[in-house]
């Protein structure tokens, strides 16, 4: 427990000491939140209603998909995991602790957004706080699970960017984060259901703000939970300690992480 706590504290501090992580965990989401708060509330007043859930979801995808994977690749390339292995640090700690610290950073960011959005932009607060917190945790876990999976299967930092953007960019455009899902064509709405951000926003709106939703928000909660668990365990299974001595594993199995989302498309449209 002492070792786990030590490791957690170090990783948490790294999230602030490391400039890239500081940018992805705090500065980028906060800057984007301020920018969208100023612009969108002028051109699309309804955005005020969904601002908190959208901006919290944005913070989640930025930290989990853009911030989390690269340090894993860099650590593997630098032989840090070799040092960890010979000192008996288990793979589950190497993967779980960054997930937990990312969630912790996100919690701080969420508190900043929730406490300032009503003051700066007259954004309404969620009406159901326990459920809001639950959805936040599940969304952060689902996205962080995908983040570590990307870090594990990427052969280089360049590939990490590619895989991350494959999820991040559609999340920005299709998940309902900026534009409402209703304005998208039917087929794009179904494609959007492959993204954890879509389910996070759907659940936030349906269960914490009593707004109309596109599909069952309880199903979104289940999908986020199973998606997060599946992604995390796939990352654990596909984890390689050593760049120079990779154990042959079938990295294409990572695609299975999308299975809960795919099933959701057919069951909960």
């Amino acid at each position: 427990m002492n070792a786990f706590l030590n490791h957690f504290l170090f990783e948490f501090k790294t999230g602030i000491r490391n400039k890239t992580l500081l940018l992805m965990n705090y500065l980028f989401p906060f800057g984007f939140y301020l920018m969208l708060g100023v612009l969108m509330t002028e051109i699309y007043p309804f955005f005020r209603e969904v601002m908190i859930s959208s901006m919290v979801t944005f913070a989640i995808i930025a930290a989990a998909l853009l911030g989390l994977p690269d340090p894993l690749v860099t650590a593997r390339e630098a032989g840090i995991f070799r040092s960890y292995k010979i000192n008996g640090i288990p793979a589950r700690s190497i993967l779980l602790i960054p997930v937990l610290t990312t969630i912790f950073h996100l919690l701080i960011m969420a508190v900043v957004i929730i406490s300032t959005a009503p003051l700066f932009f007259a954004a309404p607060l969620p009406v159901n706080w326990p459920v809001f917190f639950l959805i936040f945790l599940l969304a952060a876990f689902a996205c962080s699970g995908l983040g570590v999976l990307i870090g594990v299967i990427s052969s280089s930092s360049r590939m990490t960017v590619l895989w991350s953007q494959i999820i991040f960019i559609p999340s920005m455009m299709l998940s309902g984060l900026v534009m409402p899902l209703e304005i998208l064509p039917e087929v794009m709405r179904r494609v959007a259901q492959l993204l954890p951000a879509t389910h996070a926003i759907n659940a936030f709106r349906g269960l914490t703000q009593q707004l109309s939703v596109d599909f069952n928000p309880i199903a979104s909660i289940l999908i986020l939970l199973t998606g997060g668990l599946l992604a995390f365990f796939l990352a654990l299974y596909l984890f390689n300690w050593d760049q120079r001595n990779p154990v042959t594993k079938h990295r294409y199995l990572a695609i299975l992480a999308l299975l809960p989302y795919l099933i959701g498309v057919f069951l909960f449209s």
Partner: protein, 304 residues
């Protein structure tokens, strides 16, 4: 004595390349065993398989009765490893690193080791700000902090300054004195000669020679070098044949004799100086070192 490390018919391949071709050796408790060899001889492959970082392609390896490939988690609290190529997170501070790894080994942080290895002034510095030598000293202190029963060192003095190197040798001897078994892979023959009880010289993935440094030095062609300087250089250009001498050269003011039988050579040289009424200024006898023997083996490809 009980063997702590048993390697039997161990083989390791990388694709088509046979890096280690069926080697066997045992190391006893409290023994320092040196692995010597040129680059690519298989030293690191052996160490990495002993550490559980790589999986052997044949044969068996046991460390403290455990198989490193399959029982690594049970082994890691009992072994200390200094890798040739490994790193720590850039932002991890020296003090934090000690606390971090000691917590996983369930021992109290050994800050005294940081002081001992000259890292006192750097205790708050992040890893990326350390020089190469300081990084290696930190990795070494982490390797020994939990008092492992087996210590595996891969080029431990590479990049170290003289003071750190002396300190390291002292630490290794102290650990040996309390029963730690140590495997030392090194290019530094003087280091192996000073520290190792036994050495194995690896060549092309096979053990070309093994034994105590003394045994290895005693075998082979091993010519003893006799360097002589006299007042009037009477030994130069004599045209004489000296007993036991295989080669005679002049270098500056010194005459150098390479002898296979030192006693008659010395007696003939000193006798000749006396007859010539010359005066001896300097006389040195250099026995073949482990390095000479190593070069002899590697130059002949181990086929002697």
């Amino acid at each position: 004595m009980k063997s702590v490390i048993k390697v039997s018919d161990f083989r390791k391949n990388y694709g088509q390349l046979q890096a280690v071709k069926g080697i066997s050796f045992e190391v006893e408790r409290g023994e320092i065993f040196g692995l010597l060899g040129p680059n690519g001889a298989g030293k690191t492959s052996i160490l990495e398989c002993l550490e559980g970082l790589r999986i052997p392609d044949g044969g068996s390896i046991q460390v403290l009765g455990l198989n490193p490939a399959g029982q690594a988690e049970q082994l890691y609290n009992q072994i200390g490893v200094q890798l040739q190529s490994a790193g720590l997170p850039d932002n991890l501070r020296v003090d934090e690193a000690m606390k971090f790894f000691c917590a996983y080994h369930r021992v109290s942080p050994r800050y005294d080791l940081l002081d001992r290895l000259g890292l006192t002034a750097k205790r708050n510095a992040p890893y990326f700000q350390l020089s190469l030598g300081q990084q290696r000293r930190l990795l070494l202190s982490l390797a020994v902090a939990h008092n492992p029963a087996v210590l595996l060192l891969d080029e431990p003095t590479a990049g170290l300054d003289v003071a750190a190197r002396v300190e390291l040798h002292q630490m290794v001897k102290e650990m040996q004195a309390v029963g730690t078994t140590i495997i030392l892979a090194t290019h530094d023959m003087a280091e192996a000669e000073e520290l190792a009880d036994r050495v194995a010289i690896l060549l092309g993935g096979e053990i070309a020679a093994a034994g105590t440094p003394l045994e290895l030095r005693a075998t082979g062609a091993g010519l003893t070098k006799v360097l002589v300087r006299t007042e009037t250089a009477c030994l130069s250009d004599t045209g004489l044949t000296w007993p036991g001498v295989k080669q005679h050269i002049t270098k500056g003011e010194y005459n150098i004799f390479y002898s296979s039988d030192i006693a008659p050579t010395l007696s003939a040289v000193i006798g000749y100086i006396a007859v010539q009424q010359d005066s001896l200024i300097d006389l040195r006898v250099e026995c073949p070192s482990l390095e000479d023997r190593f070069l002899e083996i590697t130059n002949t490809g181990g086929s002697e």
